[in-house]
């Protein structure tokens, strides 16, 4: 149900995301403690290639990582097998990637 290829991808995206998560936690704390408004946040992110790249990478890694993780749960706890697992994994991955990249575009595009 999971083979070495998916395993390697999941571990790799996990390692990529570890520093991204830490940075994201700092950002959350910073924004919350300063009580930043939408205007403050968007003022920082709009037109920024740096923020765009950071969060685009985060979104794609999370989409891959989360969909592989869900595949395990679907197999072990919902009893799905074979093609059904592929469908669950790919559709969730696509959902996260699309919604995520749309969100990145929403806050980064001028």
């Amino acid at each position: 149900m999971i083979n070495i290829r998916l395993y390697v991808l999941q571990r790799a995206t996990a390692m990529i995301m570890a520093p991204l998560v830490l940075a994201h936690l700092f950002i959350i704390f910073y924004a919350a403690s300063r009580g930043l408004s939408a205007a403050d946040i968007l003022g920082r992110t709009r037109g920024s290639i740096g923020w765009g790249a950071f969060y685009a990478l985060f979104v794609l890694a999370a989409a891959a990582h989360g969909s592989i993780g869900l595949r395990f749960i679907a197999a072990e706890w919902a009893g799905l097998r074979g093609r059904h697992l592929d469908v669950v994994m790919w559709s969730f991955g696509a959902l996260l990637a699309m919604l995520g990249l749309r969100a990145v575009a929403a806050v980064v595009l001028p």
Binding site: M1, I2, N3, I4, R5, L6, Y7, V8, R11, F72, A75, E76, W77
Partner: protein
Amino acid sequence: MTGTIEVWLWRGGKEGRYQVFSVPQRVNQTVLDVVTWVQRHADPTLSYRFACRVGMCGSCAMTVNGRPRWTCRTHTSKVIEDGKLRIGPLANLPVIKDLACDMRQFFEKWQAAKGVFSPSKTRADAIEKIEPASAPRVAADAAIECINCAVCFAACDTVRWNEEYLGPAALNRVWTLVNDVKDAANRERLAAVAANGGCTACHSHQSCQEHCPNKLNPTASIAGLKRRTMQAYLKGEL
């Protein structure tokens, strides 16, 4: 020692019920002693398995108050709860009758994992020199004392949730063979454990290590296999 133990024993196959017996408690009594007492003095139709009764064959493994253990090495005084003992066959394997489970699936997975030594030389060749302190031999020795009792298999939730999963014992044995410099079949072996149900299915719950009566650590062995299969995959060998 006086007093009795209220012993609940599983009777039947997949369907059945727990039957209660009142068994005299003795000093230094083991759970196997209790089961044997029931079969000899209360109900001769009770089916159970044992052999050496001294903790070296692994045949007497059963579920005792929710935990898989060797019954010959479990003192009743250590496991009785409220004067009760609940004994059933090992989990995650089909039940034949009462306390005896069908071990075939356990061994079939062992074979599927290619947990079998494959010679690389003949008797005409020189004997392979194995350095006891070499890293592969140390790794193999740490995992080699498995007696196939299936306690780890019964304790593992991933075995329960994923019928393809080869299980901690089979993978532990594969790790010892992967580290055996005399062996010739590592390519097939790594392919077998890199597939669905192989080492990547393990989530490191570590129930296997927690329950192994020989204090083995299949989680560590499986982690080693994960590294080896990952390296083989990245090198294009799989």
